[in-house]
């Protein structure tokens, strides 16, 4: 029976928990919850009783004068709530200190938030939009932001931490179960705040290393245009640029390679390799007419080969380009990704 109640309670209130301190947080949540229910019922009953007994009605007269004041009663309902809230404070504080103190051997992942996607940077230099982590391993996240304040929120793990431009913030957790979970941005960050979401993928401990090695390798395995498409989606280009011809925050990139476009200010430019490279590294230099200068720079965040792959991808989706699309991967094994990285 109590099991059933807990289950219904967990359906209604807190979502599933899959992290080391989930049960502590939920325990405190339900502790406070039952105090609240108790207090509310007390107030409701107290109020109802008085309203029913002392309401003005036929034949009722309040004759006996009632006390205006009772030091004993008033001290009672000052002291008891004080003790209760101090207990709540203590448990809240203890739980929080666990969250604030990562173990020294935690696996560290850098998180870069920007309007409006997440980049998770792994020790081997791989960058991913989704947070992949091994199960039962403490993971420490070091957050930074490229533009405004964002906040990383993983409900299933009961963690939330702001990513603040100009400083590093840290949080940590241990996932206790494999699976895929939601990751939200919780601090309002503009137009696409509500779709700045991602997925946490918790791998089996053995599987994780394999996944990471594989994921980091795609420039060595895929044809450049395919790798470019992957980077296009991975690194947030797709957030503002469609590839179906419709305009969004930025111009659509379908059929633009090789085309002449009108810029803000009235001049024209032919979209070629140089223009694309410049627009990625210095987005404000030449803005396409009718668009605003809102793109963040990717200076220092994309390697040359990655930019080359992106250019190859844009060539592959442009009818104005009729050259060859190579199929050989851009990177070779003798030239590992790490050495070239920033």
């Amino acid at each position: 029976m109590t099991n059933l109640l807990a289950q219904i309670g967990s359906r209604v209130w807190m979502p599933d928990n899959m992290s080391n301190y989930g049960s502590e947080v939920d325990g405190l949540f339900y502790f406070i919850y039952w105090i609240c229910v108790l207090m509310f019922v007390l107030i409701l009953a107290w109020m109802t009783l008085f309203v029913v007994r002392y309401r003005k009605r036929e034949g009722y007269q309040a004759n006996k004068p009632a006390p205006h004041h009772s030091t004993v009663l008033e001290l009672t309902w000052t002291i008891i709530p004080t003790i209760v809230v101090m207990i709540i404070f203590y448990f809240g504080f203890r739980g929080y200190m666990d969250m604030a103190t990562p173990p020294s051997h935690a696996y560290e992942i850098q998180v870069i938030a920007k309007k409006w996607n997440w980049n998770f940077v792994y020790p081997n230099g791989h960058v991913d939009n989704n947070l992949h982590i091994p199960v039962n391993t403490p993971v420490r996240l070091v957050l930074q932001s490229d533009d405004v304040i964002h906040s990383l929120f993983i409900p299933t793990f009961r963690i939330k931490k702001d990513a603040v431009p100009g400083r590093f913030t840290k949080t940590w957790f241990t996932a206790t179960s494999t699976g895929e979970f939601n990751l939200f941005c919780a601090e309002y960050c503009g137009q696409q705040h509500s779709i700045m979401k991602s997925t946490v993928v918790v791998h089996d401990a053995g599987e994780f290393d394999g996944w990471l090695a594989d994921a980091a390798n795609f420039l060595k395995k895929m044809p450049p245009a395919v790798a470019g498409e992957k980077i296009f989606n991975l690194r947030g280009c797709a957030q503002c640029h469609t590839v179906d011809g419709n305009r969004s925050t930025g111009p659509s990139l379908k059929d633009v390679f090789g085309k002449d476009v009108l810029l803000v200010g009235g001049s024209n430019v032919k979209i070629d390799e140089d223009y694309i490279r410049e627009s990625i590294l210095e987005p404000g230099a030449k803005i396409v007419n009718s668009f605003e200068n809102v793109m963040p720079t990717y200076q220092g965040q994309l390697r040359d080969t990655e930019i080359s792959a992106l250019i190859m991808y844009l060539k592959s989706i442009s009818k104005h380009y009729d050259g060859i699309i190579p199929t050989e991967p851009l990177e070779k094994d003798e030239q590992p990704a790490q050495t070239e990285n920033q």
Partner: protein
């Protein structure tokens, strides 16, 4: 009466035949440039009701948007990127408008500027506030600031919906949220400077009102009204005024720094220039958390008056209630950091702010128990104001108790910036402050207008508001603990059901609010004349005619215990209470 009665009144009911503040002089200028506190109160009433209407209609529009298919992420593939972006822009402009209008133009001025201006001098047995001209100045500043801010906000929504309008009325608007967080408000293309200027101007109105109230309470108390013979509403307004005077200048400075940062790039908040965006949050909440108490302390004062008047019973624990108003006002200054538990502020700071936050909950709890005890062995008249007291007690209990979840650090980390917070502060600001405002309006309505209202329709509307409110916001606690983040224009399918229920509730709530409006308009046209003291309350405002004469009291009335209800007996012939010795 010192002022002569108007000659042209003949056969209207007694209340209207006498000279009173409503008919003493006529014409637009006699209102717009009056220094009479009652007229200024009424004008504030019209102004803030207008803003309540605007903010409310936009709230309804927001809730409607969230119930449309496009708000569900599962349906996003049916829309183009441009459609989705414009949808999100509209939503972002609208939630900013709703928040800014409700906070700066309805709920902060609400009770103090409207009910406070009208009632405070009457409760003191005075002819006006201490500085009547400053009072008028504060109203004019309010109108200027509010007009500017509203125009900027509405323009933004209009341009977001109809982009072509931009060529006629220009760009503008605000989509930073009412909090103007940096560095978003640095990057934003919207009219941050204009909007900030509007809020800056509004702040002065608030400061001047607070100044006036403090001075009035110090120097205008009649003979015999010692500090502990003051009605509790005055204690509450005094506590509020302390916050208005001490905290609002910090907001003004913060907003000026924000303007300077945007205009000249001085590098205080902008990380690109070596500034610290979190510093802005500290400055902002140093005002804006105490501002929560600017909203709620006067509401508590109103409830203290209402519960005793309509229970026909002396207030229970006068001193505890009076002290707790001041305690909340002072403690409220030291808890701002609880808005920033996830911002990266140090664990030590978080712990201290959490502890202090819990300490504020105690005075609030004391008040609730004292109000409940006031009803003990009373003679409870379930009139409309008393129904609002009962709603207030339940809604404030929920609002206050859910604060315990948010004060507890470990739990707050999960609930921070979710709908749980949205539900919590709507229970406190709307469920408590707005409900107290409505209860207060009904309570002082006969005094303000000289008319009685329909008890039956008033009660129906009150119940509709109560039911609609809970339906709208209680479900948001669940949505929030299930992790629905706030300020989201769209959501995952799992949250759809919560949004549907909430939206239906919002329409019930809105219907109740419009019924209240109809009830009041009906009362103005068809209401029966009100007696001087329809409730048998013993505070001074009930000892002058309804509506009050131009100069309030011909002679300063006698003062004794403001809650000694036994001095008043019901008189059937005038449908009101008369003093025993008369």
């Amino acid at each position: 009466m010192t002022a002569p009665p108007l000659p042209h009144k003949t056969d209207t009911p007694i209340a209207q035949t006498c000279d009173n503040y409503l008919n003493h002089t006529k014409g637009f200028k006699s209102w717009a440039f009056t220094v009479d506190h009652k007229r200024i109160g009424i004008m504030y009433g019209f102004a803030i009701s207008t803003f309540l209407l605007i903010g409310g209609l936009f709230a309804l529009a927001l809730r409607t948007m969230l119930a449309l298919p496009i708000a569900n992420i599962a349906n996003h593939s049916n829309y183009t990127a441009d459609e989705l972006n414009s949808w999100m822009d509209i939503y972002n402009h609208m939630f900013t408008l709703h928040g800014a209008v409700m906070v700066f133009m309805f709920i902060i001025p609400g009770i103090p500027a409207m009910l406070g201006n009208f009632v405070l001098p009457l409760m003191l047995g005075a002819k006006d506030v201490a500085f009547p001209k400053i009072n008028l100045l504060s109203f004019h500043i309010f109108v200027i600031g509010a007009t500017l801010l509203t125009w900027v906000l509405i323009k933004g929504v209009l341009v977001a919906i109809f982009p072509d309008l931009a060529s006629y009325i220009g760009h503008g608007g605000l989509e930073t949220g009412w909090t103007f967080y940096t560095p978003y408000s640095m990057d934003s293309n919207s009219a941050v400077v204009e909007a900030t200027l509007g809020a800056f101007i509004l702040g002065f109105s608030s400061i001047l009102t607070g100044l006036n109230f403090i001075a009035s309470i110090h120097i205008l108390r009649p003979k015999g009204m010692t500090w502990f013979k003051m009605p509790l509403l005055l204690w509450a307004l005094y506590g509020t005024a302390i916050i208005q005077i001490l905290a609002t200048p910090v907001l003004a400075i913060t907003l000026l720094l924000l303007i300077a940062e945007r205009a000249f790039g001085i590098g205080i908040f902008n990380p690109d220039l070596g500034g610290d965006p979190v510093l802005y949050q500290h400055f902002f909440w140093f005002y804006s958390h105490p501002a929560v108490y600017i909203m709620v302390i006067p509401a508590m004062g109103v409830i203290s008056e209402l519960v005793t008047a309509h229970s026909r019973k002396h207030i229970f624990g006068y001193k505890f209630i009076a002290y707790s108003s001041i305690a909340i006002a002072l403690l409220g200054f030291f808890v701002w950091g609880h808005h920033m538990f996830t911002s990266g502020q140090s664990p030590l700071a978080n712990a201290v702010f959490s502890l202090l936050t819990f300490s504020v909950s105690i005075p609030s709890a004391i008040k609730v128990f004292n109000w409940l005890s006031t009803m003990y062995r009373g003679e409870i008249h379930l009139r409309v104001p008393m129904l609002y007291v009962l709603s207030f007690l339940l809604l404030f209990a929920i609002g206050g108790l859910t604060g315990l979840f948010l004060g507890a650090l470990a739990v707050d980390i999960h609930l921070h910036d979710t709908y749980f917070v949205v539900a919590h502060f709507h229970y406190v600001m709307m469920g408590s402050a707005l409900i107290a405002f409505l209860g207060g309006m009904y309570h002082w309505w006969p005094k303000m207008t000289g008319k009685m209202y329909s008890e039956k329709w008033g009660a129906i509307a009150c119940i509709m508001v109560f039911v609609g409110f809970n339906m709208t916001f209680f479900i948001q606690f669940i949505a929030g603990s299930q992790s629905m983040p706030r300020r989201y224009a769209s959501y995952l399918p799992i949250y759809e059901i919560y949004h549907y229920v909430s939206t239906i509730g919002a329409f019930v709530l809105a219907s109740g609010m419009f019924l209240i409006l109809a009830n009041w308009i009906h009362s103005l046209i068809k209401g029966k004349p009100a007696p001087a003291n329809p409730w048998g309350a013993n505070t001074l405002e009930w000892q002058c005619a309804s509506p009050p004469p131009w100069d309030n009291f011909a002679v300063t009335p006698e003062v004794d215990d403001p809650y000694d209800m036994t001095q008043w007996q019901y008189d059937e012939t005038i449908k009101g209470y008369v003093k025993n010795d008369e």
